[in-house]
Symmetry: C2
């Protein structure tokens, strides 16, 4: 009985969330701002990938960052040291961000004059995938040590992603990660998702990711 | 407004959950069965650690395994190949297991004659930590590639664990994992939590973990 109640109420929440997300998406479109929702498991390298990306692109476009965390400000501090506008969002224990939280953050950061906004979502392969946040694209970071079988276990995430960055390819020799099998698993769930192998640590494969971002930013400008 | 409603209803859910968990705990105590709730991020090595553990202990005690997954049966099949009783629990998209789900699984598996039950929980460092499942102990697997800063980001998990297995220590040379810093971060949140470094792959450090389990099983027998 209790469980059924949760589902009913969550439907209401999703409906409300989708309305708010649609409003944010429309506002960002009017302003020509691209919003990227960056998701991953804990410890896949969201922050290090983001820091390298900001360092590479911050002089050619105006970027803003929203750091969602259950707690702690360590990521926001690292971003701010690069001279990039950043806002820390504490979810106070919640396992996901919703469109209302992101809308508040976008307002706080300010969209005028911005080209690209990143939301570094909470490290979670389940709950974060369930919410439309008004983003242009969903980017997932999946790291080599996590294994190539993750699409089988977390299909909901792999169904909603536009781009997957396979991170930590520098440690590929020490793990049994089969990139071809991973591609096959992803393709079955989501034939349109792109896959780019990268190492945020060594910089390998980062250029195609930057190119992908440049195209998204250009497309958002219309 | 929507958000406040969720919180009110979730309080109700937690209360109901805690009642069911208390009932299960009492039933397991009467039967002298030890229930271990095994949690981690996606890809930390829950299944490989569990498989090595079952192979080592299955001839000296009667073990049952509950595999919780959003989807897929791959882990359950691997356990069953070892000749250990296993039950697959599909949460159908949900990000956590609750006491009612676990109670159903325990009934299905049967407790009579069992010494040790494992629940391999869903790969998630946030939602799984919030539910009492009637377990004797919470065990967290945190793998070296995830980084030593995870207690700062997912404090709710580290506050509720009894034992942390730091897995994948065989790849320690390729990552910047500082075990001493990790110990300090954990100690601040949870001074009572034990920490055991292991490699499920090479078998290093596994004996102290087996010893810990033997003690828990003996304690549950009373």
């Amino acid at each position: 009985m209790g469980k059924v109640k949760v589902i009913e109420i969550q439907c209401g929440i999703y409906e409300r969330n989708n309305q708010v997300a649609a409003e944010l998406r429309s506002e960002l479109k009017n302003e020509g701002v691209c919003l990227i929702n960056l998701m991953s498991s804990p410890g896949s390298g969201k922050t290090s990938t983001l820091l390298k990306t900001l360092a590479a692109l911050k002089d050619e476009m105006k970027i803003g960052v929203m750091e969602a965390d259950v707690d702690s400000d360590v990521d926001a501090e690292a971003v701010s040291e690069l001279g990039v506008d950043v806002l820390q969002l504490h979810t106070c224990g919640a396992c996901h961000t919703d469109a209302e939280m992101v809308t508040q953050c976008v307002k706080e950061l300010g969209v005028q004059g911005k080209d690209l906004l990143f939301l570094e979502n909470i490290g979670n392969l389940i709950c974060t995938a369930g919410y439309d946040l008004g983003q242009n694209k969903n980017v997932l970071i999946l790291s080599v040590p996590e294994g190539h079988d993750k699409p089988l276990k977390y299909p909901g995430m792999f169904e909603v992603v536009d781009l997957i960055l396979v991170n930590k390819i520098d440690v590929m020799p020490y793990f049994d990660f089969d990139l071809e099998k991973f591609r096959q698993y992803v393709r079955k769930l989501n034939p349109k998702a792109s896959i780019l192998p990268i190492s945020a640590k060594t910089g390998e494969g980062m250029q195609p990711w930057f190119e992908w971002l440049r195209k998204e930013v250009a497309q958002a400008k219309g």
